[in-house]
């Protein structure tokens, strides 16, 4: 069976140890986690976890069922990408020799990023988008010289009916 990438969104009790239960489930059962985002929702008792994994359909079915079985997990959904908005943010620190600055600024502009820190030898760029967009900008910046990078992993919400 073919594996594919899935974005799982879930609401969980905002309590100590809940993340450990979710992560422990994945490691204990041999499921993989590609990225993971956790933060409070508007209700302080509830957090949203967005998790990206790659799995075949049967494994995916188990992942969803096993997550539902956790007592602290309130709601779980496997997101159909066409029905959801997905975003990830990256902070990219690039080496900027004077001769590259104009090029970097142009790239940042094309991707609607922002320069959030500057120095004599670097820029830190903030950029948001879906995974494809982030991969694209990273590929363009690589030849110029990426010093460090921090990515948030995907967050996602279902679109509301129009």
């Amino acid at each position: 069976m073919t594996e594919s990438k899935h974005v799982i969104t879930m609401l969980v009790d905002n309590q100590p140890g809940v993340l450990a239960r979710v992560v422990g489930l994945f490691s204990g059962r041999g499921f993989n986690i590609e990225s993971l985002c956790v933060a409070e929702t508007t209700s302080p008792e509830v957090s949203r976890i967005t998790l990206v994994t790659t799995a075949d359909p049967l494994v995916m079915e188990q992942i969803i069922k096993q997550l539902r079985k956790l007592i602290n997990v309130i709601k779980v959904r496997d997101m159909d990408k066409s029905k959801a908005v997905q975003r990830e943010m990256a902070l990219i620190c690039v080496r900027t020799k004077p001769e590259h600055r104009a090029e970097v600024l142009r790239i940042v502009d094309i991707f609607r990023g922002k320069i959030v820190d500057t120095g004599s030898e670097h820029y830190i760029i903030e950029v948001t988008g879906d995974e494809g967009k982030l991969t694209a900008i990273i590929n363009l910046l690589k030849p110029i010289g990426i010093k460090k990078i921090a990515r948030t992993g995907t967050v996602a919400l279902f679109r509301e009916p129009k």
């Binding site: 009790d13 100590p16 140890g17 450990a20 239960r21 422990g24 489930l25 204990g28 049967l58 079915e61 188990q62 069922k65 096993q66 539902r68 079985k69 007592i71 602290n72 997990v73 309130i74 709601k75």
Partner: protein, 566 residues
């Protein structure tokens, strides 16, 4: 309405909730972190059984839960007390046994400091409990305890651990009785989807060779009567998992015995030939399915289970049905009441006579030579007790012979560590079962290796005057491992010969029990008679054929039709 609000200590709240939950017996072992709780316990009518090891306290609570149908409760101290419970908890988790395990913890101010006897037991037991809690405020204690009991006994049952720091047990909180537990994220599905159920009926009507595979879920949901009615009405033969022994009467002509690695020839053959397999309260464990691609490969599979994760985990099914076994079978029985199956005996004639033929070809058999055969001991025990004893087992060959040669007509009579396979389970489990059923005959069918893993519980048996009977099938080997070495490792018996063993007769006597030994087949019956008739506990040590193997045997990972038969 009566005002039930009062200010209590954490320890008092624990005692109050235990009594509200109908707990009259708990199993445990004290220590510094739970002194306050023990101090309070002494002022209640709750009976405390002091085992000699915390692992045994959990197995005893497990045996108690199975023999009583209630939630088993344990109380142990922090650190080593807590870590000693892990094996027992993991076994109960695999077998879906409802337990509430209360562990003491160092005071909240010391948590995280590597304090004396501190261990993160919530972290350690997260993957082997249905749920667990660290209670940080006395105010939260009653709600947590209520939830713990609710979670342990509802849905697919399981162990729940509640870790109580010493200051939480000493601290005070306003307590008011709470009867219902509402949890927004926990709602097991009891009622099956009715449209799916109707499809089961048509599958039965279409099938030529249908059968049922029943497991521990039938026993846990107390659905044996419903299952029996269902099978008899539709004339479908029934095989069971190890955990399902007794879910369907073992002496019924429709009973095929156990399925899987050491299953009966007819059960394995029938499962491979059937065209409809209705799994009820089972999880298609690898010891049952063998090679999954070859398992029930001609059959449409219906899978009834309360736990959605059990379904389509190991085998693909035609028709999944999430629901409680009892409710689902009741609905099915109601539906089949209205259906005219015509001459059902006639329709099943070929199928059942094929099965009868398999029964003849592959009957469980052994030759009783001049050395005692372990099967003969179990068979004689079965005959002398008329199949009415509660049997607990250790793990290994002894467990399989118990399952093969003792036939259970009733549920809750076979108590074994099925999923985890814990050596040392049977003796403490027998203690729990005996306490739950004081008038009932309780026998631990043991191996000489396993019995030594919790032998200290003989002292518990003595302290409470429990008439537990222990039948040791003594092959002076870690027999099941030796069997694998014989069959699959060219008889290289690496570390399975326990070259020294205690004199079990003297050991029994040291613990104030009757000790008996049989070395010839002629002595088997008289030793059993004497041991069973004795008023108190007895160890009966049977020196059996060292080389005997459990047959049939399906090598791990092979199709279940590939049985080694003697």
């Amino acid at each position: 309405m009566e005002n039930t609000e009062k200010t209590l200590t954490g320890a008092q709240i624990l005692m109050t909730v235990l009594q509200e939950e109908g707990v009259d017996t708990i199993f445990g072992f004290p220590g510094g972190a739970v002194i306050d709780i023990y101090d309070e316990l002494d002022r209640t009518p709750i009976r405390h059984i002091l085992t000699r090891h915390e692992q045994a306290a959990v197995h005893a609570a497990d045996g108690y839960a199975r023999a009583s149908g209630k939630v088993g409760v344990c109380l142990v101290t922090s650190g080593p007390g807590a870590t000693n419970t892990v094996t027992g908890i993991a076994s109960a988790y695999m077998d879906s046994i409802p337990l509430v395990v209360v562990t003491g913890q160092v005071p909240t101010s010391l948590i995280g400091n590597d304090a004396f006897q501190e261990v993160d037991i919530v972290g350690i037991t997260r993957p082997c409990t249905k749920h667990n809690y660290l209670v940080k405020r006395t105010d939260d204690l009653s709600k947590v305890l209520k939830e713990a009991f609710h979670i342990a006994r509802s849905g697919r049952p399981g162990p729940v651990l509640v870790d109580i720091p010493k200051d939480v047990a000493k601290g005070k909180a306003v307590y008011s009785r709470m009867d219902a537990t509402q949890m927004k994220s926990y709602n097991p599905t009891y009622h099956p989807n009715m449209r799916q159920l109707e499809k089961v009926i048509s599958l039965i009507q279409e099938a030529k060779r249908p059968m049922i595979f029943a497991g521990g879920g039938v026993i846990l949901s107390k659905a044996s009567a419903e299952l029996t009615a269902f099978a008899r009405k539709t004339q479908m033969p029934v095989t069971t998992s190890l955990m399902g022994m007794g879910a369907f009467p073992g002496t019924d002509s429709l009973c095929l015995g156990m399925l899987g690695m050491h299953g009966t020839y007819r059960a394995n053959m029938a499962t491979s030939a059937c065209d409809l397999l209705i799994g009820v309260g089972v999880r298609f464990d690898d010891r049952v399915t063998g090679k999954t691609d070859a398992f029930a490969s001609q059959a449409k599979i219906v899978h009834i289970d309360i736990d959605p994760t059990s379904i389509r985990k190991n085998v693909l099914v035609t028709l999944p049905l999430v629901g409680d076994c009892k409710i689902t079978l009741q609905e099915l029985n109601r539906m089949i009441e209205r259906i005219d199956f015509g001459n059902i005996a006639e329709q099943r004639r070929d199928w059942l006579s094929q099965i009868a033929q398999w029964k003849e070809t592959g009957a469980l058999d052994y030759d009783q030579t001049t050395i005692i055969k372990p099967q003969y001991v179990v068979e004689t025990l079965y005959r002398l007790t008329q199949g009415k004893a509660i049997i607990t087992t250790e793990v290994g060959q002894n467990q399989m012979w118990a399952a093969q040669y003792y036939h259970f007509d009733e549920p809750d009579h076979f108590i074994t560590s099925g999923g985890l396979g814990v050596m040392g389970f049977g003796l403490p489990a027998a203690i729990g079962a005996q306490i739950a059923q004081p008038e009932h005959l309780v026998v631990d069918i043991a191996g000489d290796g396993s019995i030594q893993m919790n032998i200290q519980e003989m002292a518990t048996i003595r302290q409470y005057g429990l008439p537990v009977k222990i039948v040791i099938l003594n092959n002076r080997y870690l027999g099941m491992v030796r069997q694998w070495q014989e069959l699959f490792y060219d008889k290289r018996y690496s570390c399975t010969d326990m070259e020294s063993a205690p004199d079990f007769v003297k050991l029994a006597e040291a613990y104030g029990a009757l000790g008996l030994k049989a070395t010839t087949p002629e002595e088997v019956e008289s030793v059993l008679r004497e041991g069973l008739a004795a008023p108190g506990a007895a160890i009966m040590d049977f020196w059996v054929d060292r080389q005997e193997c459990v047959y049939p045997m399906v090598p791990a990972g092979a199709p279940i039709t590939e049985m080694l038969l003697v």
